[in-house]
Symmetry: C2
Subunit: 249 residues, 2 copies
DNA sequence: CGAACGGTTGACCAATATCAATTATAGTGG
DNA sequence: CCACTATAATTGATATTGGTCAACCGTTCG
């Protein structure tokens, strides 16, 4: 409850800190959502010393590209990213969207190259955790290893749910499930659960859900006509969350 | 080279050891594919002491069920398993198949309940790693933590590839991609890459790939008529692996 | 031996993709 | 700041892949 208070102004604080580029983990507004959760003070200091806070990425700019040498894991600091994997013929699949406090690059830990490409969806920034240093530091910080395991496991089980969507659900169910999941993530970050901006394009959403762009657009209008949501451009309002829930399958 | 020799008779050895139920990790034929890879001798002994080798599971028997308390991680010892997640209305998605040396339950690490259900596809056995003890032991064995991270990361990136299949590929491409992936996994386990048994039903394959059972059946016949594969029942031969590769998308 | 299950094959249909045209929105340079 | 252009989104008409329904065959197991 006191927690909710401290989460609410979360993103604004980070934005301020952006300018200074000096915010330590211990005073970062993302603390509760981020890697250092559960670390002791002295461990935090050790972690702080290896973290590099990177400049902003503009819309479309790449954080890393499939096939490049693995250098760092990243935690989103502000903005949003998407990752994609490609088939040999160039077809791409949007494999995930990433918001403040979330990890990018976990799927690369087992290789020395990134298997996916990460791009900023809007003006965004990250904290970079150089992989070699992270490995060294984490040996002496069990809680850090544990955080990594937890994050990976969470990511894995989220992907299993996405597999369920892609494999078994209708277009409408896919989209509604997706919107509800977004709503949850936004509210965890101190934003309204019912009114938020979609940082990704219709095309990105469609691709992510294995649909055609036009299908997504049509379903948006249909849901809007049924007064379940209100969309205009990137701005989305969930008007009847419970009714939506029943449409999620 | 010498490695291949030791892998080839791999499964037979495990089968023998099944009867004794006493095989230590250090002398297990799955060693190269399994968790203990890279552990020192003394660490192996510690690991051995927490591992419980479980009795066999018959076809269809559950290893654990969605919603049950998390007790153990499992490594397949012999046979094969599938995992499924369910929508509220009961629809299921087969989220993975698991062969000797592979982990089951990694998606549960972040919760205290399993998010998925695991069932044996044939007479199978596992090594169980009680979760609490695993956590204790792994604190003092960095290589073990590292193995877990690696496995999780690998699982995550495999799932991203599956998302690509489900989202972007045609029915035929999905199935061919799946068969090639199976082929790779079997050959890693010392079996022929071109001639193996499918432990799962057509329905399981179809569900896993987001297709109808009938579609899978039809594509099997089509590929067979094109002399790319030979199927009879569960037995599969890849007749033109390169030609198949080009059909995988 | 018969029932049950798993798999194959065929005919038909529907959901959603594709193609095409139009309208918003946003980014850019004067 | 506005006009212009490029990009994104919507909407409509049509096509197609793969799903559904149904009948049939083969194998396995009690």
């Amino acid at each position: 409850m006191g927690q909710a208070d401290s989460l609410l102004p979360l993103i604004k604080d980070v934005a301020k800190a952006e300018q200074a580029q000096t915010l330590a983990c211990q005073s970062c507004a993302l603390y509760r959502l981020c890697l250092p959760l559960g670390l002791h003070r002295e461990d935090l200091v050790a972690l702080d010393q290896i973290i590099r806070r990177r400049d902003s990425f503009r819309r479309g700019q790449r954080l890393f590209e499939s096939g490049c040498d693995l250098t760092s894991l990243y935690v989103v600091r502000s903005g949003a990213f998407k990752t994609t994997v490609s088939a040999k013929d160039g077809r791409e699949q949007v494999t995930g969207f990433y918001f403040p406090g979330e990890f990018i690059g976990l799927d690369a830990l087992h290789l020395n190259t990134y298997p996916s490409t990460a791009r900023a969806l809007e003006l965004s920034s990250v904290c970079a955790l150089p992989f070699d240093k992270l490995q060294m530091v984490s040996k002496s910080i069990p809680a850090l290893q544990h955080q990594l395991l937890t994050r990976l496991s969470r990511a894995l089980s989220d992907d299993k749910d996405l597999l369920l969507s892609l494999g078994q659900k209708s277009a409408e169910e896919k989209l509604v499930t997706f919107l509800i999941a977004l709503s949850t993530r936004f509210s965890e970050r101190g934003f309204s659960a019912y009114n938020f901006q979609l940082p990704m394009s219709r095309g990105d959403i469609a691709n992510h859900l294995g649909l055609a762009l036009e299908t997504v657009s049509r379903i948006f209008t249909r849901l809007q006509q049924a007064d379940l949501i209100a969309v205009q451009g990137k701005s989305l309002t969930l008007l009847q969350p419970e009714a939506l829930q029943t449409k999620a399958g």
